[in-house]
């Protein structure tokens, strides 16, 4: 000792700066981890912290620790910390990284957490190529809960829930997460390492640093699977556990790099992020800026006339039922009225029948549901039969058909039945039948200024060819209604 006392030494290896000097978030024993003697988690913690130190990203780093023995990452890492639900860390990490692109996000998960309950979250985070680093500590067992079988439990390995050893016939095979995720196109880097001996430990340390560096460089998703000893649950000494990783576990889970796209990612130009617009631009971008909205034609409305138009429009999907209703509502709004438009929605929108409720009123509209319409627009016979009885006494049915079914006729309801589809076809496109019928509705109700109808048409129809056709169709509908009235 006397010789060495004059020699001068420097610290070569010591506790990483990214780990708290004292674990004050722990209840007790704040100078040491909660891990059992010989547990691999402490080693991996050290490697992660060392990588954070070496890359100089401590202030930017956010650790996400879910459930299992990894649950207390926030005890140890002097970084931002987010504790998350079992298996969900990749989803949590995704959102943090997306909203805070300057942050370095590490999802630190065990094998029960990642490969069982969180299998969907890890698969999709990897498949989206989230720019996060996942540390996957695989000890082939549920340790925190006391030694139940995991998807990674080896064949024949005993656990409290596979008391006779894992049997492939009933429990399936050990899940190879690294191999599985490597079939995806998005991940940047996936490697499996072990803690089975000095050489493996040195490689594990390099791999973890590399995975973190990939994120710092923006290369995408990296995952390091670490085969890690659990002496307590395995019921082995720490040294035997270490050897078991190397001699037994590694046979099922071979070490190596399974995916490495870092070179090609480095070569590819990074996508430029678009700067967020200024706050005062948002109403315009959202299309809700008042200066962009039309003035409307409320002034053209006859002031004295009471209006309470309740319309039900029904037909097959694709006949323009909803558009007809929307035109009516848009025109009503333009004319300064209170309006509501309510569709029958869901799969009905895509096939089969379709219908909608439209109300126009001077008063606040109480219920948007039209159960007793003053006007029913029925674009085919089934739709007519569905709603004909609901039409209010004194109301109108406008029906697309050569002949109005005799058994639907009601003494207290007016009917305009014409082959609207054929009429529209003759005008240029049978799909304009809805506009011919709307023309009839407008002529019947007679309250909306033409300017409002023109405005609604231009707001909803962008194709000039269709605007022209629809204008003619609306006019034709008005004529047909007038002719029918004259005949009657």
């Amino acid at each position: 000792m006397s010789n060495q006392s004059v020699a001068e030494y420097e610290v070569a290896r010591s506790k990483a700066k990214s780990l708290y000097p004292r674990y004050e978030r722990k209840e007790e024993l704040q100078h040491q981890t909660h891990f059992c003697p010989g547990c691999g988690h402490g080693i991996v913690h050290k490697m992660v912290a060392q990588a954070i130190d070496e890359l100089g990203v401590q202030d930017r780093t956010i650790m996400v620790g879910p459930v299992g023995c990894s649950v207390f990452t926030y005890y140890y890492f002097d970084t931002g910390n987010v504790q998350s639900a079992h298996g969900r860390a990749p989803a949590v990490a995704t959102a943090i990284r997306r909203s805070r692109p300057e942050s370095i996000v590490i999802s630190y998960q065990g094998d029960g957490d990642l490969s069982a309950i969180g299998s969907a979250e890890i698969l999709h985070a990897a498949n989206r190529g989230e720019n996060i680093t996942v540390i996957f500590v695989n000890n082939a067992i549920y340790s925190m809960t006391g030694g139940q079988a995991a998807p990674t439990t080896l064949l024949g390995q005993k656990s409290t829930t596979t008391p006779n050893g894992r049997n492939a016939a009933t429990e399936g095979y050990p899940l190879h997460v690294s191999e599985l995720l490597s079939t995806l196109q998005a991940p940047a880097y996936i490697e499996r390492v072990g803690l089975g001996d000095n050489k493996q430990i040195a490689q594990a340390s390099r791999a973890i640093k590399r995975a973190l560096d990939n994120q710092v460089r923006g290369l995408g998703f990296s995952l390091i699977e670490v085969l890690s000893p659990c002496p307590t649950i395995w019921k082995m000494t720490p040294v035997d556990s270490q050897h078991w990783v190397r001699d037994v576990m590694e046979k099922t889970f071979p070490l190596g790099v399974f995916c490495d796209r870092t070179k090609e990612r480095l070569a590819a130009p990074a996508a430029q992020s678009v700067p967020a617009p200024a706050l005062d631009e948002l109403p315009g971008i959202l299309g809700v800026a008042e200066e962009d909205l039309p003035e409307g034609n409320a002034a053209a409305m006859a002031k004295e006339q009471e209006i309470d138009l309740e319309v039900r429009i029904a037909g097959f999907g694709g006949q323009g039922v909803l558009l007809l209703g929307e035109m009516l509502a848009e025109a009503g709004l333009d004319a300064g009225l209170e309006v509501s438009w309510l569709p029958s929605y869901g799969p009905e929108m895509r096939s089969g029948t379709s219908n909608c409720h439209v109300r126009l009123s001077r008063q606040t509209i109480d219920s948007p549901l039209v159960t007793a319409p003053t006007v029913l627009v029925a674009m085919n016979e089934p739709s007519l039969r569905k709603f004909d009885r609901s039409v209010r006494s004194g109301g109108w049915i406008i029906y697309d058909g050569d002949e109005f079914p005799a058994d639907c006729a009601r003494e207290d309801v007016h009917v305009l039945a014409l082959p609207f589809t054929r009429i529209a076809d003759a005008m240029g496109d049978k799909r304009a039948a809805n506009m011919v019928m709307l023309g009839a509705v407008l002529e019947r109700s007679g309250v909306l200024p033409q300017a409002s109808i023109d405005a609604a048409l231009r707001r909803l129809i962008k194709n000039p060819r269709w605007v022209e056709l629809d204008e003619r169709a609306l006019a034709r509908g008005r004529e047909l209604f007038k002719e029918a009235l004259a005949e009657a």
């Binding site: 000792m1 060495q4 290896r13 506790k15 024993l29 913690h45 040294v239």
Partner: protein, 95 residues
């Protein structure tokens, strides 16, 4: 250890409060200069004990140790570099 005048390339400090006596450092140490203490620390663990000489400063024990702060490895400085004394550089219990 043949040349008494030549100092060890490395030095080792083990925090016996943090050590849980798992023995992985003993297994990992290439020159085999770590052993388990006979004495128990106050949690009842036999802790790792540096024999006091022969450390090469390789740092392998540090990496193998599951407790992040239990082991500190020191290396003999090159001449001319800034220096710390072997006994005063790091707080905590030195073996």
């Amino acid at each position: 250890m043949t040349d008494e005048k030549k100092p060890d390339r490395g030095q080792l400090r083990i925090d016996e409060q943090e050590c849980k006596g798992c023995g992985l450092c003993i297994e990992a140490c290439p020159p085999k200069v770590i052993s388990l203490s006979e004495r128990l620390n106050h949690y009842g663990y036999r802790t790792a004990l540096y024999q006091g000489s022969g450390c090469t400063g390789c740092g392998i024990c540090f990496m193998a140790c599951p407790e992040p702060g239990a082991i500190t490895v020191l290396r003999l400085m090159n001449r001319g570099a800034g220096s710390v004394s072997a006994t005063g550089a790091v707080g905590g219990a030195a073996a």
